[in-house]
């Protein structure tokens, strides 16, 4: 067991336990805070994959904006300080069965794929991930068009969210 494997197992267990607490917490604010720890675990996983930019953007965008948005939304949509009633559907067992089936199906699919136990090649020396990523995002024969479309999507979402949530007095 190399050190890297031990770290990965710790991170994976932490993230999966946090994810499980997200979907089973009775108190919604606790669920949102468990989501924060799950997102942080995912950021550490990105750092393990040498995707440093993704790790930092994950913390900035997901934890710094989306998780806070969730906490605000939970606080603004409750009639009371406590959560009322059961937090699970009457048919939650069907959801659990389906989730287990999906997981089993995915694992089966993965195991029947050949390149599964591939280990990571070393990163080429002096490889500047950030500048390569920047080039890929704005270069015309790379991904500038999806990048621009994503920015249009964000503007549309911004306008839509403001319009939908606007409190007309």
């Amino acid at each position: 067991m190399t050190g890297e494997q031990i770290i990965f197992i710790l991170v994976a267990v932490f993230t999966l336990v946090s994810g499980f607490m997200v979907v089973t917490s009775r108190n919604l604010i606790h669920a949102a805070l468990w989501l924060v720890s799950a997102l942080f675990g995912v950021a550490v996983a990105y750092a393990l994959l040498n995707a440093a930019f993704l790790a930092v953007v994950q913390v900035v965008v997901y934890i710094g904006a989306i998780a806070i948005l969730f906490i605000f939304a939970v606080m603004l949509t409750r009639k009371d300080m406590r959560d009322q009633g059961p937090q699970m559907n009457p048919n939650w067992w069907a959801g659990a069965v389906l989730a287990v089936l999906v997981f089993a199906g995915l694992v089966f699919l993965l195991l029947s794929w050949g390149g599964l136990s591939a280990t990571a090649a070393d990163m080429p020396a002096d490889f500047d991930t950030i500048s390569e990523l920047g080039n890929a995002l704005v270069s015309p024969d790379a991904y500038v068009l999806p990048f621009e479309v994503a920015s249009v999507l964000l503007v549309a979402a911004l306008i839509g969210a403001v319009y939908v949530a606007y409190n007309r007095k």
């Binding site: 699970m88 559907n89 949530a165």
Partner: protein, 102 residues
Amino acid sequence: MVPLSWYLIFAAALFSIGLFGVLARRNAVAILLGVELMLNSVNINLAAFWRYGDVTRMTGQVFAIIVFAVAAAEVAVGLALVISVYRRRNTVVADEINMMKW
């Protein structure tokens, strides 16, 4: 030396946990929490395939960044809708928002 399979199985497990959250929860905001977990698991998959494939092709990371943007947009609009529904119907329990059901 972490094999690729570990990352993929980790992402599959996170995806199923998110799926369970979407299917089994009553509160609309809690359903969106499950959706966030699923999007994150997809991103881990993409980043792992970038790393374990050809590192000089940035497709995996670019895809992951676009997914960040889409997830942020979806959460913003989704929560705006939930807040708007709460203002009209004073509830966010998904079962009770059933005026358009047959």
